[in-house]
């Protein structure tokens, strides 16, 4: 006999009533579109010389950020790299704050004091974006240690690239987290390149993170990082494990970045056709098709697209109109007293 759930599922004909559900899927779709539009805008603004300094885009990698943020609870902590715009936006930090920081305006997330590589919004659980490769893996361990010590249920999630698996801090952190059984999730976004060099050219094993998991007594987890549903489900399991006090997870997500490493990089080192092949599996395209196939009205999807476009347009205008930071913040917040005095 069919249960009520079966009937509902048959009615929807869709799979939208599964463990993820329609609401969560629309949320993750929206997150991916926010990242796509904001990152594309950052690129356009760079071409207009309105984004200064450097910037590292996550175009093509949106599903990892959306899937993990979708699985996070309030209070969970994100630790990002310089390629951190996506994870920052995914936690709900306003687009204007992110673009403002990239454009080095007073309305930026850190008023221009950090720059694009260091996006931080403690109120949103974004505990910083770190630009020294590997530095934040041990830091995420420390935040997880505090949760363990305090008996808090929050989990620290640390995002990094494939290239990061070859630095010592990665290995120190993995061992440390495993030995102390810390509630931390290490997420390797394998986009196939460390800056300009293919990861395979410099790594002893084919899968830079997954193939190292066993060295720390961890399960080998290698997933499709372009499918937000897969990312979400994998994340859910890792969160459950962490919250149950069963220790860390290391998850390798296969994905691809569409742009160069940073704004200055035309990415000429990539073999012909590689980018086009990955674009066939574009995370947003995959997800939009799935939503349609599951019976979500096209209008709902295009409304989200339009809404997000408007948010990014409005944010852009607000940033263009925003003043540069005032000079008096040069000397603030070096020390906890708010100032910079090192002598009397």
């Amino acid at each position: 006999m069919a249960t009520a759930k079966d009937r509902a599922q048959a009615k929807a004909g869709s799979g939208l009533n599964d463990d993820i559900g329609e609401q969560k899927r629309l949320e993750m779709y929206r997150t991916q579109v926010v990242i796509r539009e904001a990152e594309q805008r950052a690129y356009d603004l760079f071409l207009q010389n309105l984004v200064k300094g450097t910037s590292h885009l996550s175009l093509g990698q949106e599903a990892v950020a959306a899937g993990f943020a979708g699985a996070m609870k309030q209070g969970d902590l994100s630790f990002c790299t310089y390629r951190g715009h996506a994870h920052t936006l995914a936690r709900g930090v306003p687009v204007e704050k992110v673009l403002g920081e990239l454009m080095q305006r007073d309305n930026g997330l850190m008023r221009g004091k950090g720059g694009s590589m260091h996006l931080t919004s403690v109120d949103h659980g974004v505990m910083g974006s770190y630009a020294i490769i590997g530095a934040h893996l041990p830091i995420a361990c420390g935040a997880a240690w505090r949760a363990q010590y305090k008996g808090a249920k929050d989990v620290s999630v640390c995002f990094f690239g494939d290239g990061t698996t070859n630095i010592g801090a990665f290995h120190e952190a993995l061992n440390f987290a495993a030995v102390w059984k810390l509630p931390v999730i290490f997420v390797c976004e394998n986009n196939l390149y460390m800056e300009y060099t293919p990861i395979g050219d410099v790594t002893a094993v084919p899968q830079p993170a997954a193939d190292r998991a066993s060295a720390y007594g961890l399960e080998r987890i290698l997933i499709d990082g372009n499918d937000a549903d897969v990312v979400y489900r994998t994340a859910q399991a890792a969160f459950e494990k962490a919250r149950a006090g069963e220790g860390p997870s290391l998850i390798e997500c296969l994905t691809y970045r569409y742009s160069g490493h940073s704004r200055a990089d035309p990415a000429k080192y990539r073999p012909e056709g590689e980018l086009d092949r990955w674009k066939l599996r574009d995370p947003i395209k995959i997800y939009r098709e799935r939503l349609l196939q599951f019976g979500v009205a096209e209008k709902i999807i295009t409304d989200i697209d339009a809404q997000v476009r408007k948010i990014v347009d409005d944010a852009t205008e607000a940033c263009k109109a925003a003043p540069p930071p005032p000079l008096d913040i040069i000397t603030t917040d070096v020390y906890a007293d708010g100032g910079w005095a090192w002598r009397n």
């Binding site: 902590l77 997330l109 850190m110 008023r111 004091k113 950090g114 720059g115 260091h118 931080t120 919004s121 403690v122 505990m127 910083g128 770190y130 020294i132 590997g134 530095a135 934040h136 893996l137 041990p138 830091i139 995420a140 361990c141 420390g142 935040a143 997880a144 240690w145 505090r146 949760a147 010590y149 305090k150 620290s156 010592g168 801090a169 120190e172 952190a173 061992n175 440390f176 030995v179 102390w180 913040i329 603030t332 917040d333 070096v334 020390y335 906890a336 007293d337 708010g338 910079w340 005095a341 090192w342 002598r343 009397n344």
Partner: protein, 326 residues
């Protein structure tokens, strides 16, 4: 009042703060069950238990990174780096992470932690286990740096460091661990950024830090006894914040300045003090300021060699005497 070794003062200081505040936690290599390679943490594991006093793997980056993550999210960690020379393998945290996170985040991120470490020469350990690295730390905006010279200051400055909302590098001198001093009973809390005049005098100011403090005091007694030269000895104690007022006040009185530094010559803290004094007290001077330092060398291991390179009471006294022309 009790007589305590510098080593036992470290234990008492940590215990005082861990007793006061349950958010104070302590981690490092061999610090818990073994009580530390210098036996400066004996008994803490037994007193505070395995959740608060934790042995780590040999992973200096993990130790400092974990301390930072814990500090950012509400704990008050004390991390031990066994030898200060090992700062070189975890310097990212000291140079890039602890001191810059607050600034880069426009004040959102805090980093209230203490890194304790065994610093300095005298143990005949050679060039990689004997360095005085206070100058490595002093040059980084955002850090605080202290180096006590006696047991009472160990407790007081350690307490001040733990209670301070900024990252503090706490340099314990390995050759002072066995030295003794009078320590009052009860809680001791000092303040960072304060130098102390340990001996007053009218003819010359000698600024010293850590192991160089007892040597400067010995030199001062010798100068008085043998040459009638009356030196004022200032224990700098805290390099950041730096108590320039106490130092400049002493120069205004004595009109001469000598710094005694264990660190190698280039970019030592004495150069900074001389520079400040030259800018702000030039007309107080009756003669050139003089830096007495370890020469710009890696440290040799053999006792006879190591003893020659570190400033000794004799070298300090002789340098002061010659400079004063007596």
């Amino acid at each position: 009042m009790a007589e305590l070794t510098y080593r036992d003062a470290v234990i008492r200081g940590i215990a005082q703060e861990m007793t006061r505040d349950p958010d104070v936690v302590f981690l490092g290599e061999d610090v818990a069950k073994a009580g530390g390679v210098f036996k400066a943490t004996v008994g803490l594991y037994e007193q505070f238990g395995p959740l608060r006093v934790r042995d780590t793997p040999i992973s200096e980056q993990a130790i400092l990174g974990a301390a930072m993550g814990a500090a950012m999210t509400g704990l008050k960690p004390i991390a031990e780096i066994m030898f200060s020379d090992f700062f070189a393998v975890c310097f990212d945290y000291i140079a890039n992470e602890f001191p810059k996170s607050r600034y880069m985040s426009n004040g959102q991120v805090k980093c209230p932690l203490v890194v304790r470490t065994g610093n300095g020469a005298g143990s005949r350990f050679g060039a990689q286990h004997s360095q005085s690295v206070e100058n490595w730390c002093m040059m980084i905006p955002g850090l605080k740096v202290v180096a006590p010279s006696n047991p009472r200051d160990v407790i007081g400055l350690l307490a001040a460091a733990v209670r301070d909302p900024d990252p503090v590098i706490f340099l314990e001198h390995k050759s002072l661990y066995a030295t003794k001093g009078e320590v009052p009973d009860g809680e001791i809390v000092d303040s960072l950024g304060t130098a102390k005049v340990l001996r007053s005098g009218k003819d010359a100011t000698i600024c010293a830090l850590a192991l160089m403090v007892p040597r400067a005091l010995e030199a001062a007694e010798k100068l008085k006894a043998e040459h009638g030269i009356d030196c004022e000895v200032v224990d700098v104690r805290s390099l950041v914040p730096l108590d320039t007022q106490t130092i400049l006040g002493s120069i205004a009185k004595t009109h001469r300045l000598f710094t005694v530094e264990e660190n190698p010559r280039l970019c030592g803290w004495g150069a900074e003090i001389v520079s400040i004094a030259a800018d702000e007290a030039f007309y107080d001077f009756d003669g050139p300021p003089v830096r007495i330092t370890t020469p710009h060398l890696p440290l040799p291991a053999a006792d006879i060699l190591e003893d020659i390179v570190l400033p000794t009471p004799d070298r300090i006294a002789e340098t002061v005497r010659r400079s004063l022309g007596s």
